[in-house]
């Protein structure tokens, strides 16, 4: 008979760390994990993060943002047919995709900084895999009960009760998965328009395809694969080892305080023994199926649930909390050497990450504030590069594309600076003194076919510079494009 009591009033949980290193085997089928619900400050924080991240994901496409007539009023929209990306007050054209690249670089640097400071906080709190798995476990707990009840149900023979519970659980999971896939589609279409279309089967095929893919991945990843995604599929656990150092805060079992571990009998002194009473509450709470007391492990996502579980027990046995806590490797060494522990968040590494992060953020903010709302592209005709007219004059043709990136129609002036004697004409436009009045629609490209003709007498050399520019007389904004006038020359 094994003692069931770890300390007075604390039962030892009958749990195995199924994914701990000694049990790690590549060809083993997954052993199910039944994480036990814990309460505490980190669990509370994680509930907050869960509501915030899921709330943003599901609600953001429904947020409206007035942009003016003819423009979508969805705050965040990736408009593939219209080739625009809308993000609140920002509107990006395909040629400005570097802003998105900048955003990804910002994301990567923020991840580096957070990891150097607090270890795998991304994995433990905000990674979609963690958040949706957490949500799925909430559903599981709601339908089947907490750890013990779930285990009992799993080992029970098939009955009407078991079937109905499993059916309810998987139905809810599928509903969440479909909502997740559906919300993804809303980012690419006008949400209030596409929702009824999706429900009535009238949405485009691509919408159903992406909804299907994300429904499938959400259901499988959060429902049945869970910790395997982190351990076997995700590259981040491998990369993060390079980003942490001995002063990074990580979820740590303070073995110097906990060992030697063992059950604590009533009235026994705490002198000469560790604070760990081998109650295995930390193992039961772990969604990854490991034992934090084995030390830092690849599988550990630093979700801090074991901290809450252990603190709860420590309070019960009247010992100080923090046997498992955010701690650094350096502090373990300091304690071993009998010195005072110290937390050092400002280090060369974190300063560097923060500096680069700030630099990129400032560069992007600057670029965005200076974003041009007029652009001019000039395509010179190449077949042929020039043509001789019956008078002997030489003519070059140009296709001029004027990009009006503002959300308003604008009257612009196209100006052609050509050598003296040049005749300028354009299809369907009136030219006065080398200038063409052009009325551009809001947020669109206006194309002009332009001819420049030079009499032989004005031609000095085979390539003469010509500058085509566009000006907004109201705002004074200007864009110029230098090109050339080609001929055989003199």
């Amino acid at each position: 008979m094994v003692a069931r009591e770890a300390a007075v009033g604390v039962e030892r949980v009958d749990v195995e760390a199924v994914n701990s290193a000694p049990k790690r085997e590549l060809y083993k089928a997954r052993e199910p994990i039944y994480p036990k619900l814990v309460h505490g400050k980190f669990r509370t924080l994680k509930w907050g993060v869960l509501f915030a991240t899921l709330g943003v994901y599901y609600a953001l496409p429904w947020l409206r943002w007035a942009r003016g007539p003819g423009e979508p009023d969805q705050a965040v929209l990736v408009d593939f047919p219209g080739q625009r990306f809308y993000f609140f007050f920002i509107e990006i054209w395909p040629d400005e995709l570097y802003y998105v690249t900048g955003l990804l670089i910002l994301g990567a640097l923020a991840l580096f900084l957070a990891t150097a400071l607090f270890g795998r906080v991304w994995c433990g709190y905000t990674c979609p895999q963690t958040v949706w798995t957490d949500l799925y476990i909430v559903v599981e707990r709601l339908v089947e009960g907490d750890r013990n009840k779930r285990m009992r149900l799993a080992s029970a023979p098939w009955s009407l009760n078991k079937i109905s519970k499993k059916f309810a659980k998987h139905s809810l999971w599928l509903l969440i998965a479909m909502a997740t896939g559906g919300a993804w589609v809303f980012y690419f279409h006008d949400a209030p328009t596409i929702l009824p279309q999706l429900l009535l089967g009238r949405a485009p095929m691509s919408a159903y395809l992406f909804m299907g893919i994300l429904t499938f991945t959400t259901y499988i990843f959060a429902g049945s694969m869970r910790e395997q995604v982190c351990t076997f599929m995700c590259p981040w656990p491998r990369i993060q080892a390079a980003l942490t150092d001995e002063e990074t805060l990580q979820v740590t079992y303070r073995e110097d305080r906990g060992e030697p571990r063992g059950a604590h009998k009533k009235g026994e002194s705490w002198e000469g023994r560790g604070d760990c009473i081998s109650c295995r509450a930390c193992v039961a709470a772990c969604p990854m199926g490991i034992d934090i007391r084995d030390g830092a492990q690849l599988e550990c996502i630093n979700c801090a649930l074991c901290i809450d579980a252990c603190d709860d027990i420590m309070k019960k046995v009247d010992r100080p909390t923090g046997l498992i806590a955010y701690d650094t490797d350096k502090n373990r060494e300091l304690r071993a050497a009998g010195k005072k522990e110290a937390f050092n968040l400002i280090r060369p590494r974190t300063i560097l990450y923060a500096f680069v992060l700030g630099l990129v953020a400032v560069m992007m903010a600057y670029g965005l504030s200076k974003r041009a709302t007029i652009e001019l592209n000039v395509l010179r005709d190449r077949t042929p590069p020039f043509v001789q007219l019956s008078s002997g004059s030489i003519r070059n043709a140009y296709t001029v594309k004027i990009l009006n990136k503002a959300n308003e129609t604008r009257d612009l002036v196209l100006k052609v600076d050509a050598p003296d004697g040049a005749q300028i004409s354009a299809i369907g436009e009136t030219v006065e003194d080398g200038k063409i009045q052009i009325n551009t629609e809001s947020d669109s490209v206006h194309s002009v076919r332009l001819f420049v003709t030079l009499p032989q007498i004005s031609i000095t050399k085979p390539s003469v510079p010509v500058t085509i520019s566009i000006l907004d007389p109201q705002s004074g904004e200007e864009a110029a494009n230098p090109t050339v006038f080609l001929s055989e020359g003199k």
Binding site: Y27, A29, D381, T383, V387, L389, S390, I427, G428, R449
Partner: protein
């Protein structure tokens, strides 16, 4: 069996294969791989039942869905063609370039349709930019054989030049030398005369001898001043633009053997609205009058 060897480090059976003493362990295939493999087998059986799969001698198994990608393409093309014709029909109202320029949508439509039709039908002879080649007129300069107005371009497109069409434009440059209508010396003198018309340096005595010959023989089509006549397709000889080249040998060959390039009549291949789009496009290339 005796050959089942157990690896002493891992405790796993080996396959018995050995390369330079390195042995292969007989681990099972990954579960996800095996599951994917089984799914593929099931998928392929369902696919073979539903879709065309097996070749026969004269035909093939059609499958329950009776799917044919060829029929789908044909249907999609028919749909496309129907939709395209509806849009292009709007161009039939166009009578002049003025009509088009007042309607930016129509201008855009005809330019887009014209550019694509030009690439498909015209670029082979006239070049991708309309720059032309020797014997194939340049369409972007301001020199026209048969006129550069919208209506003239449209008519040339519809009925062609010396084409197999009752309304084709007909004009002939005879083989004066080869057919003995002019003696050799007069042909040579005319070469000098024609060279001088566009400002080239030529033999003054030859010009003097050729002047009456030009007035008698050439002026009826090319005009007394050599400026050409668009109703006959007679080119202007006084500008620097030459369809067959402006060197003496080119001019001599023209006088000796005659010329007569052919522009097909496009009504047999293109619809009326397509021809309108093409005429607008060609007119906009630069030389439109």
């Amino acid at each position: 069996m005796a050959e089942n060897e157990i690896d002493e480090h891992s405790g796993i059976e080996t396959t018995g294969h050995s390369w330079d003493g390195i042995k292969e362990l007989n681990n099972p295939l990954p579960r996800w791989w095996v599951i994917t493999w089984y799914i593929c087998i099931v998928f392929s059986i369902i696919y073979m039942i539903l879709m065309p799969a097996w070749p026969g001698i004269h035909s093939y198994t059609k499958g329950l869905r009776n799917h044919s990608e060829r029929a789908n393409v044909a249907a999609a093309m028919a749909d496309l063609e129907a939709g395209r014709n509806v849009t292009l029909k709007k161009l039939l109202v166009v009578r002049s370039v003025g009509d088009i320029e007042q309607d930016p949508d129509l201008l855009q439509l005809s330019m887009a349709a014209g550019a694509s039709l030009f690439g498909d039908n015209c670029a082979t002879c006239h070049g991708s930019g309309g720059q032309g080649f020797s014997g194939y007129p340049n369409l972007i300069d301001d020199d026209w054989l048969w006129g550069g107005t919208f209506a003239a371009i449209q008519q040339t497109l519809q009925h062609g030049v010396r084409a197999d069409d009752p309304e084709a434009r007909i004009g002939v440059m005879l083989a004066y030398g080869r057919d003995g209508m002019l003696p050799r010396e007069q042909v040579s003198d005319l070469v000098e005369y024609v060279t001088s018309l566009s400002g080239g340096e030529a033999d003054a005595q030859a010009i003097a001898r050729a002047t009456p010959v030009f007035a008698q023989t050439c002026a009826s089509c090319h005009g007394a001043d050599g400026k050409g006549n668009q109703t006959l397709g007679a080119p202007n000889l006084t500008d620097g633009i030459w369809l067959y080249g402006g060197e003496r040998q080119n001019i001599h060959e023209t006088l000796q053997n005659g010329r007569g390039g052919v522009m097909p009549a496009w009504t047999t291949r293109l619809s009326d609205e397509q021809i309108v789009a093409l005429a607008v496009y060609v007119h906009s290339l630069g030389g439109g009058e």
